[in-house]
Amino acid sequence: MKGALSVILFFCAVAAFAQNHPGTSMDRQIELMPSLSVLNYASADELYSPMVYEGRGLYAGIRITFSRENSHHIIEAGYSDFTRKSEELTVPENYFLDENRFLELHNYFIDLSYSYLHQLSSISIPSAHFSISGELSHHIVLDEDVQVYPEISITSVSPGFEFGYSPGSHHTIKIAASVPLFSIYLRNNYSTAYPQIYEKYKQEYFIKHNVKFAGPGTLRAVKAEAGYTYSLGKRMALTARYRFGFLYLEDPRPLRWVSGLYTAGLTYRL
């Protein structure tokens, strides 16, 4: 309830800001894009199991873009939760455990990001634009069924680019990609275990001992997306977007994940 109220207040603030700073389509612009996606997610986290667990679920997101001339500030948030299973795992009949912690994982996915795009003016292709970008993103995958600890919580700074092309007044195609330059991440420790005496202070101990830094040599990841926007007029547009994500992190034991986010969104220009 508190979270919902915060979201409503945030949008009210955005609307108020927009009304107090009326702009034209050429200089200032604010866009809101609520979206609904299907998230495909598969990972093998060897801290828990060498097997690949995969699943898909609905993903709700919101994207707010503040634009002024060649500068774009984008805030995005998304959430999903669903259950994943392993195709490699054969479940015997009469399984004795009440707690099916290995049979399926119930995951919560939370994404938050802020991106800055600077549109380069030197590009000479008609109806096209090219931007360089910098993104600060935070991504959390919580594995409720394995431990109360996250599979990963990672904050990254990622440089990237975006290329846009408008073949007609209503149509825009965009491709974009970014690669993390450095990240701060939190995963469980190598043994996923704690000295007995720390049981009472697990969360504190967990965070203190497991926050780590990763550079390009230790974290291999990429985020790439392709999207199409159809403008319905001055204020509305429809967007279809595909975003691919890949991550490989060696420490403390290998984690590999791939994700595909299939998004449909409705953009409203304030």
Partner: protein, 366 residues
């Protein structure tokens, strides 16, 4: 424009739902595939290979060479059991629904009492009924948790002296009856001694045993050190962690304590014993404990069989491996009591619990 849409649609269809195929599936549900998962998970996570002088590579080859595509489930379970039996570890086991549980622990078939052959839980129940009737005279306080574990306490009168008695059958409970334990401890403050019965207590949750340990502790003492597996090499272990008792204002003081143990006193109950043995006025009596000191991690094989690994190595307060006089690491071997006394079911049926009888005689005269 149409061509652009076709390109986008084709690209989306190409990618559609196939992301997971980009992750390589490394393990197959074959006899060798399952064996390799078991072996490699132990190789990467088990803590005590060096403490127990175990050549895991060599053992892996010995058992792997006996596994073929035609190996039956029963044969595979037997070979995997053989492999983990080499560890003789109280916390290592494997479970297959069709073949049951196999414990690595070498005393896995040890009878509950010296004069019987089989492990029959009803004998343990009978022992506890006997304690309530013969020693507590039916005036015990009791608490039975959701899983049926029966905690009970009372007084034992002997030669004009009063001794407190408390049976803690487990530490597994999510709703551990600490107020029951605390209340019993409060009532023991003016007794001539306390018998804390941990026989057949197979352990459980850390926070439960820590609370009990602290209420029975009168001094802050280092009683154990430990390290956790922290890397792919067998000697990759974390920094040493010190485990202390931490008494509070309501802790029991100046009352001698006898801790009753046997071979089925395991895990958290053994940590409790180590903690209490660091305290003044505490002695243990009964049989050598189980030998399950490491924290434990559960894992699963591609065929669904489940197994447990201990990633922890434990050390005495002086920093040396927790070992017996022969230098053997105690995981799987257990802690020898200060006073050895094994029970016989025949005596229990006659109304005598030999461990309790001897413990009472060992309390110091005031």
């Amino acid at each position: 424009m149409r061509s652009i849409l076709i390109i986008i649609s084709t690209a989306l269809l190409l990618f559609s739902s196939c992301e997971e195929d980009l992750l390589k599936h490394e393990f197959k549900n074959t006899p060798r595939g399952n064996y390799d998962v078991l072996w490699s998970e132990f190789d990467r996570l088990y803590g005590a290979f060096e403490a127990k002088h175990i050549n895991w590579d060599s053992l892996g080859e010995v058992y792997r060479s006996q596994i073929y595509d035609e190996t039956t489930g029963e044969e595979l379970f037997s070979l995997m059991s053989g492999l983990i039996a080499e560890l003789n570890d109280g916390h290592v086991d494997i479970y297959a629904p069709e073949f049951g549980l196999f414990s690595s622990w070498s005393r896995r078939r040890k009878p509950y009492f010296k004069d019987v052959v089989d492990q029959d839980w009803s004998d343990v129940v009978e022992m506890r009924i006997n304690i309530k009737a013969e020693y507590l005279k039916g005036r015990q306080r009791e608490y039975t948790d959701d899983e049926g574990y029966n905690f009970f306490s009372g007084y034992i009168e002997n030669r004009g002296k009063t001794y407190g008695y408390l049976c803690i059958p487990t530490f597994t409970s999510d709703n551990f009856p600490f107020s029951f334990v605390s209340s019993a401890v409060d009532s023991f403050r003016h007794t001539s001694g306390v018998l804390l019965d941990l026989r057949f207590n197979g352990g459980g949750m850390t926070e439960n045993f820590v609370k009990v340990m602290n209420i029975f502790s009168s001094e802050k003492k280092l009683f154990l050190k430990s390290r956790l597996r922290d890397g792919t090499e067998h000697n990759d272990l974390s920094e040493m962690t010190s485990h202390y008792t931490n008494p509070g204002p309501s802790s029991l003081r100046d009352v001698p304590i006898a801790v009753l143990v046997n071979s089925f006193t395991a895990s958290a109950a053994e940590h409790l014993l180590l903690g209490l043995e660091s305290q003044p006025g505490v002695f243990s009596i009964g049989d050598t404990t189980h030998g399950a000191f490491s924290t434990v991690k559960e894992k699963i094989l591609p065929n669904g069989w489940q197994f447990r690994i201990g990633p922890q190595v434990v050390y005495a307060p002086n920093g040396r491996l927790l070992a017996n006089e022969e230098g053997e690491y105690l995981e799987g071997i257990g802690i020898a009591p200060d006073y050895y006394s094994e029970n016989k079911l025949a005596f229990i049926r006659m109304g005598y619990d030999l461990v309790i009888v001897r413990a009472i005689h060992l309390f110091p005269d005031e």
